[in-house]
C-alpha cells in the first residue's frame, strides 16, 4: 500500500509538469487554431535559457523567470513571423501542422550545435525528504506542485475575471465577430502567444528539474504526453487540459506500481484511446472555446 501512496505523490509531480505545459498548448490551439508541434522545442529553448542563467550562479527558482521570458518571446516570434503569415494565406490545418513540424525540426537542429549533444542539469537544492502517510516528496518537488497550482489559479483568474480573459474567450469562439465588436483580436492573439509561451517556458524549466537531466531531444518526448493530456481533456479547453494532466500523471505512476514500469506509458495512452472512443470530443465538452468548466 505504501508504494501506491508514494506513486500517488509522484504522480502529483508529473501532473504539475504536464498541466503547466498542456494548458499553454491547448490555449494556443483554442484561440489561434494552431497545433504547435514546436511546443516541445520551445520548452527546451526555455529550459536552456534558465540553465545558462542558473549556471551563472542564479538560483533556479529565479532563473525560471528567464525561462518564462525566453518561452514568451520565442513563441511570440514564431507566431508573428511564421505561423500567422501562413494562416493569413489560408493554409489549412494540416498545412499548418507541417509548418509547425518544420519549425520544431529547425529549432532542434539549430540548438544542437549551440548547447551540445549531451544532457545538462540544473543546480537545484532538493531540500529534505518529507515522509507523511506514505507520501515521499522533497521540498523542491512540493514547490513544483505549488508553482503549478499557482499558475492554474492564475489562468483561471485571467480567463474568468479579466477583460483580457473575456477577449480571449470571445476571440476563440468567433474571431470575426469579436473583431467586429471592437476587440483587437490581433493584439489578443499576440498576448495569448506571450502568455502561453511563458507557460511553455516555465514548463520547460520544471520538466528539467523533474528529470534531473535534459537534452534537446527531450522536447519531442514531452510533446506526446502534452498532446495526450490536451486531447483527453478536450482540445482548446484549458480546464480540460488540467484534468487530462491529472489523469495521465496519476495513471502512469500508479500503473508503474501496479503492473511494471515499462507499461506505464502504454496504460496512459490506452486510457486516452478509451476516452476518445467513449467521448471523442474529450472529457469536457467544447461548449465554446475556453469556456469555464461546469
Amino acid at each position: 500500500m505504501d508504494l501506491y501512496v508514494a506513486a500517488l505523490g509522484f504522480g502529483l509531480i508529473s501532473v504539475s509538469v504536464i498541466a503547466i505545459a498542456a494548458v499553454g498548448f491547448t490555449m494556443q490551439f483554442g484561440i489561434t487554431n494552431m497545433i504547435n508541434l514546436a511546443y516541445g522545442e520551445v520548452m527546451m529553448v526555455s529550459g536552456y535559457a534558465a540553465f545558462y542563467v542558473n549556471r551563472a550562479g542564479v538560483n533556479i527558482w529565479i532563473a525560471m523567470f528567464a525561462g518564462a521570458l525566453a518561452g514568451a518571446v520565442l513563441s511570440f516570434l514564431l507566431n508573428r513571423f511564421l505561423y500567422a503569415p501562413f494562416q493569413r494565406k489560408g493554409t489549412n490545418l494540416i498545412g499548418m501542422v507541417i509548418v509547425s513540424l518544420a519549425a520544431s525540426l529547425m529549432i532542434a537542429n539549430l540548438m544542437l550545435p549551440i548547447v551540445g549533444y549531451y544532457t545538462s542539469s540544473y543546480v537545484v537544492d532538493q531540500g529534505p525528504l518529507l515522509r507523511s502517510n506514505g507520501l515521499v516528496l522533497t521540498t523542491a518537488q512540493i514547490a513544483i506542485i505549488a508553482v503549478a497550482v499557482i499558475l492554474m489559479l492564475a489562468i483561471h483568474g485571467l480567463l474568468r475575471y479579466t477583460r483580457l480573459g473575456k477577449a480571449m474567450r470571445a476571440t476563440a469562439a468567433n474571431p470575426t465577430l469579436a473583431r467586429n465588436c471592437g476587440i483587437p483580436t490581433q493584439r489578443v492573439i499576440d498576448v495569448v502567444w506571450l502568455i502561453t509561451g511563458a507557460l511553455c517556458g516555465v514548463a520547460g524549466v520544471v520538466a528539467g528539474m523533474n528529470s534531473e537531466n535534459f537534452a534537446v531531444s527531450s522536447g519531442a518526448s514531452y510533446l506526446i504526453t502534452i498532446i495526450a493530456a490536451a486531447v483527453l481533456g478536450g482540445a482548446g479547453q484549458p480546464y480540460g487540459a488540467m484534468i487530462g494532466a491529472l489523469i495521465i500523471g496519476i495513471v502512469t505512476e500508479l500503473s508503474a506500481a501496479a503492473i511494471a514500469p515499462e507499461y506505464k506509458e502504454v496504460v496512459a495512452f490506452a486510457m486516452l484511446v478509451l476516452v476518445m472512443v467513449l467521448r471523442p470530443q474529450g472529457l469536457l465538452a467544447k461548449r465554446g472555446a475556453l469556456a469555464a468548466a461546469g
Binding site: A6, A7, Y118, N213, S221, A257
Partner: protein, 445 residues
C-alpha cells in the same frame, strides 16, 4: 594477291585483339591484384551522433581520425589518402537505414565502415553486407555471435559477456564480500535488454537472488515509482546501464534512500565522460566515487601498437578541433575501431586490390595471422613487411585479435572505477576461471 577475305582478316584480328584487351582491363578489378586504384578513400563512421546514444559516435570518430593519420602518414594506401566522415543514425533503425543508404550511394570510394551499434546494426549490417562493404561493428547483439554476414567483423565480445563480467564483479570484485541480492535495472530497448537474459540465466544457475528485474523506459521524465519499487526489494547492488537516464534514476535512489546510494555496477558503455558527468551532477562526486564500479574490455594499452595509436590520437585532438579525441585514449571502442581500420587498410594492401570482394577475406588472415606470419604493430610496418613479400599478423593498439569462424574476437575483462576527473582506473581483473564459470552458468548466450 590480297583477296577480299584476307583483306578483312587484318582489321578483324585487330578488333578482336582490342576487344580482348578491353575486356581484360574491365575485368581487372575483379581479379586478385587489380591494383589499389587512385583518388581519396573514405572510412564511414555509421553511428549515433545525436539522440540518447549521442556519446557513441564521437569516440568512434576519434579512432577513425587516429587511424587515418597513421595511414596517411605512412603514404596512404597505395598513395591514396584516407579520410573519415560521420553518418548519424540517431540511434534509431528508422534513421539508420536512410543514413546507410545515403552513405553508400554518395560515396563510391568507401574503404570500410566502423560503428554500427546495437541500436541499428540489425538494419544496417545487411545493407552493408549486400554492398560488399567491410565493416567493423560495435554491436554486442547476440544475433551476430554466429553471423553469416561475410563483411561483418567484431573486435569486441557480445553484450551478453558484459553481463557475465558484471556478475563476476558482483561476486568476485575487490573490496567487498560477494553481493547476495542483485537488482537488474536496464532500459527497455534492444541494446539494453541484451544483458538481461544472460544475466538472469547466470544468476539463477549460480543461486544468487535477483531482487528485482526492472526494465525502464529510457528518456522518461522521472523514475520515482520505479525506484520506490526497487528499494522495497532491498538489493545489495544494482547492475545497470541506462544510458541517458542514469542520472535521473540514481538521483531518485539517493533521495528516497535517505541520502544514500546503493552500490551500482555499470556496463562498459557507462565508462564514458557524458555518463560520468550526468551521474555526478545528479548524486554528487563523493557518492559516485564510493559506489560506482564497471566492467571494461581488457585492453593492453601498451606496446608499439598503442604508442602509435596514442601519437596519432594526440595529433587528431589538435588537428580536428572539437573532436576531443584524446579524451578517448583509454576507451575500448576508440582503440578497437582504430585497429579495425588499420586491419582493413592492410588487407587492401595485402590483396593489392581496391575491390572489397578481394580484400575482405584478408582482414581475417591479417588479424589472426598465418603460420610464419611476421607480427607488425603499425600500418607503416605492415606495408613494409608486405612489400618485402612477407605475410603479416597485425597486433595493434588493443593487442591481439583472434577471429573465430564468425569474425568475432574478444580478450577478457577488467574491473574498473573512475577517478574524480572521470578517468578509468583498473582495480581488478576477472580470471579466466571466474569468467568461464559465469559464462557456463549463463549458457554462453
Amino acid at each position: 594477291m590480297t583477296t577480299f577475305r584476307s583483306s578483312l582478316r587484318v582489321p578483324a584480328f585487330a578488333v578482336s585483339t582490342l576487344a580482348v584487351l578491353l575486356l581484360a582491363a574491365c575485368g581487372g578489378s575483379t581479379s586478385t591484384g587489380g591494383g589499389l586504384g587512385s583518388g581519396p578513400l573514405l572510412e564511414g563512421v555509421l553511428a549515433p551522433f545525436s539522440g540518447a546514444d549521442a556519446s557513441f559516435g564521437p569516440r568512434y570518430l576519434a579512432g577513425c581520425y587516429a587511424a587515418a593519420l597513421s595511414i596517411n602518414g605512412a603514404g596512404g594506401i597505395g598513395g591514396r589518402q584516407l579520410s573519415c566522415q560521420q553518418f548519424d543514425t540517431r540511434g534509431e533503425p528508422a534513421d539508420a537505414v536512410p543514413a546507410a543508404n545515403a552513405m553508400i550511394s554518395s560515396n563510391s570510394n568507401l574503404m570500410g565502415v566502423v560503428g554500427c551499434t546495437s541500436d541499428e546494426a540489425s538494419t544496417v549490417v545487411p545493407i552493408l553486407d549486400r554492398s560488399h562493404i567491410p565493416m567493423v561493428c560495435m554491436t554486442g547483439q547476440s544475433e551476430f555471435n554466429k553471423t553469416s554476414f561475410k563483411y561483418f567483423h567484431r573486435l569486441v565480445p557480445p553484450d551478453s559477456f558484459d553481463a557475465y563480467a558484471m556478475i563476476g564483479s558482483a561476486l568476485f570484485g575487490p573490496n567487498h564480500a560477494p553481493y547476495k541480492r542483485i537488482a537488474l535495472v536496464f532500459g527497455d530497448d534492444i541494446g539494453s535488454q541484451n544483458f538481461v537474459g544472460p544475466a538472469v540465466a547466470a544468476l539463477n544457475k549460480l543461486g544468487v537472488t535477483i531482487a528485482i528485474n526492472q526494465a525502464i523506459h529510457l528518456g522518461a521524465a522521472s523514475y520515482r515509482t520505479e525506484v520506490a519499487a526497487m528499494l522495497q526489494t532491498h538489493p545489495d547492488v544494482i547492475l545497470t546501464e541506462t544510458i541517458g537516464s542514469a542520472g535521473t534514476y540514481m538521483k531518485e535512489v539517493q533521495q528516497q534512500n535517505g541520502g544514500n546510494v546503493i552500490p551500482f555496477i555499470g556496463t562498459s558503455a557507462t565508462i564514458d565522460p557524458v555518463w560520468f558527468q550526468q551521474v555526478v551532477d545528479a548524486i554528487g562526486l563523493p557518492a559516485f566515487l564510493a559506489n560506482y564500479t564497471a566492467v571494461d574490455l581488457r585492453l593492453s594499452l601498451q606496446g608499439a601498437g598503442y604508442d602509435e595509436f596514442l601519437t596519432e590520437l594526440t595529433a587528431a585532438d589538435s588537428k580536428f578541433s572539437g573532436s576531443n579525441a584524446l579524451t578517448y585514449k583509454g576507451k575500448s571502442p576508440t582503440v578497437h575501431l582504430y585497429d579495425g581500420i588499420i586491419l582493413t587498410a592492410l588487407a587492401m594492401v595485402a590483396a593489392n586490390s581496391s575491390d572489397p570482394t578481394v580484400y575482405n577475406p584478408k582482414i581475417f588472415e591479417i588479424a589472426n595471422g598465418v603460420s610464419g606470419a611476421t607480427v607488425v604493430n603499425t600500418f607503416k610496418d605492415g606495408v613494409a613487411a608486405l612489400k618485402a613479400g612477407k605475410s603479416i599478423r597485425y597486433v595493434g593498439a588493443a593487442g591481439e585479435n583472434n577471429f573465430n569462424q564468425w569474425n568475432n574476437s574478444q580478450q577478457g575483462y577488467n574491473l574498473v572505477t573512475m577517478d574524480k576527473d572521470g578517468n578509468e582506473q583498473v582495480v581488478g581483473q576477472l580470471t579466466e576461471a571466474q569468467t568461464q564459470k559465469i559464462i557456463d552458468a549463463g549458457g554462453n548466450a
